[in-house]
């Protein structure tokens, strides 16, 4: 199974030289593996013959932690799963518990979830695009991306009290209502973001070197994408129109219609484009959500100790990386009997060895970056 300790194989080249495959260990401490992913690559010259991802360097046992926390207390630990989109993680977990208990958050809470979720999606995609360009050797886009993301994190801080580990969602609603003037500040941020989106687009999208590096690299066939269980921008970039916000709408997405971004390219460039235009779409959704934001309570009254009825449930949302599903089994106590996270990054990782094969070494980072892995979610 493991190729990690396998001896290199020898081959006879065309010129009659005896060449040796080189095993290159990339990571876990490596600038471009986005955390602590370890790739054991067998190289034939600069061509990747075989690639084995080794995961588990960031395992914190989040699923087990969830089982040892009450339902309400578990929400905070979901922040650390996909640490680039905590709002989305919390929505998934809170939604799963609500589904288990059969309660529905009030409409205002649902809209607040939509707004914060889409903000988080923009933030996550900004990081994805920025770090992707950093992997490809362009230093500037990541700083532009982080500059814009900073505005979002400040807004999160105002509404939730924390920039990063927001801990904002609650079972049956959200924690706080919006501060005074928050919507105006969000509006202002959206205006600046639309300008800086154009800036990013001009800087990256038309660049010949960037297109040359990404077009035709890491191509995923639509059938292959479905067979490997890809979700999110990767699936949509391969031409499969599947978005949980549309196909299985939850919360406020039942009112506000999403136009999913579908590209036919199927390559790294398509995935990049998909993320870029999803940011635009998210900005539109935020505006619609703000316009339609209803009044009323931000949460249902829930008992202090949540004891969902015995049973199991699966609740999935469209996270920034794909389908983020929470599978919960309740034995009627205050603690989940089993909490399983279906992390999109983990599922998307499994196509990486298949994509790497035959590509040059320089493409390894181009492919890996386009998959947009977050190791916190892979290892959990």
């Amino acid at each position: 199974m493991a190729t990690v300790n396998e001896a290199p194989r020898y081959a006879e080249s065309d010129e009659g030289f005896r060449t040796e495959e080189m095993i290159l260990n990339m990571g876990p401490q490596h600038p471009s593996t986005h955390g602590v992913l370890r790739l054991v690559m067998t190289l034939e010259g600069e061509t990747v013959v075989h690639c084995t991802p080794v995961i588990g360097y960031l395992h914190r046992g989040i699923e087990k932690i969830l089982e040892n926390r009450t339902y309400m207390a578990g929400i905070r630990y979901m922040d650390n799963s996909d640490y680039l989109s905590p709002m989305l993680n919390e929505t998934a977990y809170a939604g799963a518990v609500e589904q288990l208990m059969g309660i529905e958050p009030p409409r205002r809470a649902q809209y607040l979830r939509l707004i914060t979720n889409e903000m988080q999606r923009i933030a996550s995609h900004l990081v994805a695009v920025g770090t992707y360009m950093l992997d490809l050797g362009a230093f500037t886009p990541i700083l532009y991306a982080f500059r814009d993301r900073e505005g979002l994190l400040e807004l999160f801080e105002e509404v939730a009290g924390s920039r990063f580990n927001v801990n904002y969602m609650r079972v049956g609603g959200v924690l706080h209502d919006l501060p005074v003037g928050w919507l105006q500040r969000l509006e202002a941020w959206l205006d600046t973001f639309e300008n800086s989106w154009k800036e990013l687009d001009v800087l990256i999208t038309g660049n010949e070197i960037f297109m040359k590096r990404t077009q035709g690299v890491g191509y995923i066939d639509p059938d292959q994408a479905v067979a490997f269980g890809m979700t999110g921008p990767i699936l949509r970039a391969s031409g499969v129109n599947f978005d949980l916000r549309v196909n299985r709408p939850y919360g406020a997405y039942r009112d506000i219609k999403v136009n999913p971004v579908v590209r036919e390219d199927g390559d790294a460039f398509g995935r990049y484009m998909c993320r870029m235009y999803e940011m635009k779409e998210s900005a539109r959704l935020i505006r619609e959500g703000m316009a339609a934001l209803p009044g009323g309570p931000i949460g249902t009254r829930t008992p202090i100790a949540l004891r969902p009825p015995r049973g199991e449930t699966y609740f999935a949302i469209e996270s920034s990386k794909g389908e983020l599903g929470i599978y919960l089994i309740s034995d009627g106590s205050e603690y989940p009997y089993r909490a399983k996270i279906r992390g999109p990054s983990f599922v998307n990782l499994q196509i990486v060895p298949e994509l790497m094969r035959g590509h040059k070494m320089g493409d390894v980072v181009a492919i890996l970056g386009s998959i947009d892995l977050v190791l916190g979610e892979v290892d959990r």
Partner: protein, 436 residues
């Protein structure tokens, strides 16, 4: 008439100037790079040490000097320690024949251009030694990439300069060309401003591109591609050994810019310097007398030279801030399939025009044709790079759509660069990921 005392003063002053320049240039450029990049990237950059953080690089140098040199157990010690010196030595040597002003020239070598090309190809030895001696896979790949890259770009670099040498033969009054840097500068200001960039813009662009590759700067910084190779051949180096490579890289930038200035931008010619030169109030090659007028003239000349050099170096920074990195095979493709043919065509066309067009119009026609060729080169580049234009779908997607429209799924063409057609070594039979 040789004045020994003057010769000694000349030698000492020039030597000190060059050493001072190489040492300070790196410090200035590191600071400038960080500040300019910070400005372009909407951030502040260094700001704590000195006014506006100006002493930041000085502190960095001090840190590097004090740092322990760590080396891994398995390095090949002799090669590993020699490599930084071998990398740095040609850089210092290359300053020998650069004419910063008529006075600030250590040696007006008759073969300056040739020596420069020879010295710039020596760098690769140091890089390769570093890659091999480190006994690390990342270093080895970085060294190999660097060797391939520097050798490949040596050719178009040299070829792009041939046009300039041919021009000197036309411009000079006796009809004999020269590869001496001093002569080339004089040719560009005689009898009027005739910077060769006006006649050979294509040459400058290609030379500058190759210069980027020679100095391992973005977008050709594959040997030290951070995202793939950690730091390439520099991975195992630390402390002052690392700083030698760093100094060498910045020294290389300085030299590439200086040579571009000398060959294409008229060297030290500029308002003030030219006036003195044209009116023969000073001698271009002082033999013994050195007046205050000479001093002022030389200061002005060095000033213009440095202005042009730092202008070109700032373009290095600008390019680095803007462009992503090429892939190794694309880099080779670019050198062998685009740059070398284009430079060869440039040489042919320039030579033919210089011979064919009668004298008063020679330079006008040659320059005009070269500008047209430059535009053609840019168009060719965007075409040859082969990326589909913004907004259109790549060809394999269009083919797939056509196939889907015909409902013939079996006829799907394989996309480029993926599984089909990839040469895997013999015996590679597995089909799915993860297991062998």
């Amino acid at each position: 008439m040789v004045n020994i005392g003057f010769q000694i003063v000349h030698f000492v002053v020039t030597l000190l100037f060059f050493i001072f320049l190489v040492a300070t240039n790196a410090v200035i450029m590191v600071y400038a790079e960080r500040k300019v990049m910070a400005f372009m990237q909407d951030r502040v950059g260094p700001k704590y040490y000195g006014p506006f953080g100006a002493l930041q690089s000085t502190y960095d140098v001090m840190k590097l000097l004090l740092k322990e040199i760590v080396r891994s157990r398995d390095t090949d010690n002799a090669i590993f320690s020699l490599a930084p010196m071998i990398f740095f030595a040609p850089v210092l040597t290359a300053f020998v024949m650069l004419p910063f002003s008529p006075f600030m020239t250590t040696s007006a070598l008759g073969t300056g251009l040739l020596l420069y090309v020879a010295l710039s190809s020596l760098d690769v030895i140091g890089v390769f030694m570093a890659g091999w001696g480190s006994n690390s896979k990342y270093s080895l790949i970085g060294g190999l990439r660097s060797a391939a890259q520097m050798i490949s770009y040596e050719l178009p670099l040299l070829l792009s300069l041939v046009g300039v040498v041919m021009l000197t033969s036309v411009v000079s009054h006796n009809g004999i060309g020269s590869i001496s840097f001093t002569d080339i500068v004089s040719a560009q200001m005689h009898p009027w401003w005739l910077w060769f960039v006006l006649i050979q813009p294509l040459g400058l662009i290609i030379y500058y591109t190759c210069g980027l590759a020679e100095t391992n700067r973005a977008p050709f910084d594959l040997p030290e591609a951070e995202s793939e190779l950690v730091a390439g051949y520099l991975t195992e180096y630390s402390g002052m050994q690392w700083a030698m490579f760093f100094l060498g890289e910045y020294g290389n930038m300085l030299i590439v810019s200086s040579v571009a200035t000398v060959l294409f931008l008229g060297g030290w010619s500029g308002p003030g310097a030219d006036l003195a030169f044209w009116h023969s109030t000073v001698t271009a090659n002082p033999g013994g007398v050195f007046s205050v007028a000479d001093l002022i003239f030389n200061v002005i000349a060095v000033f213009w030279f440095l202005v042009k050099v730092y202008f070109l170096q700032s373009i290095f920074i600008w390019v680095r801030t803007t462009l992503p990195r090429l892939r190794a095979d694309q880099l080779m493709q670019y050198a062998w399939l685009i740059l070398i043919p284009v430079t060869l065509v440039n040489i042919l066309v320039t030579a033919a025009l210089l011979l064919a067009v009668p004298q008063p119009y020679t330079l006008w026609v040659t320059g005009g044709v070269n500008f047209v060729m430059l535009i053609g080169y840019v168009l060719l580049l965007s075409r040859a790079i082969g990326a589909s234009p913004k907004g259109t779908l790549p060809p394999w997607v269009q083919a797939r759509q056509r196939a889907l429209a015909r409902n013939a799924k079996a006829a799907l063409p394989p996309p480029p660069g993926t599984t089909a057609g990839q040469a895997l070594p013999a015996g590679e039979t597995e089909t799915l990921a993860g297991s062998r």
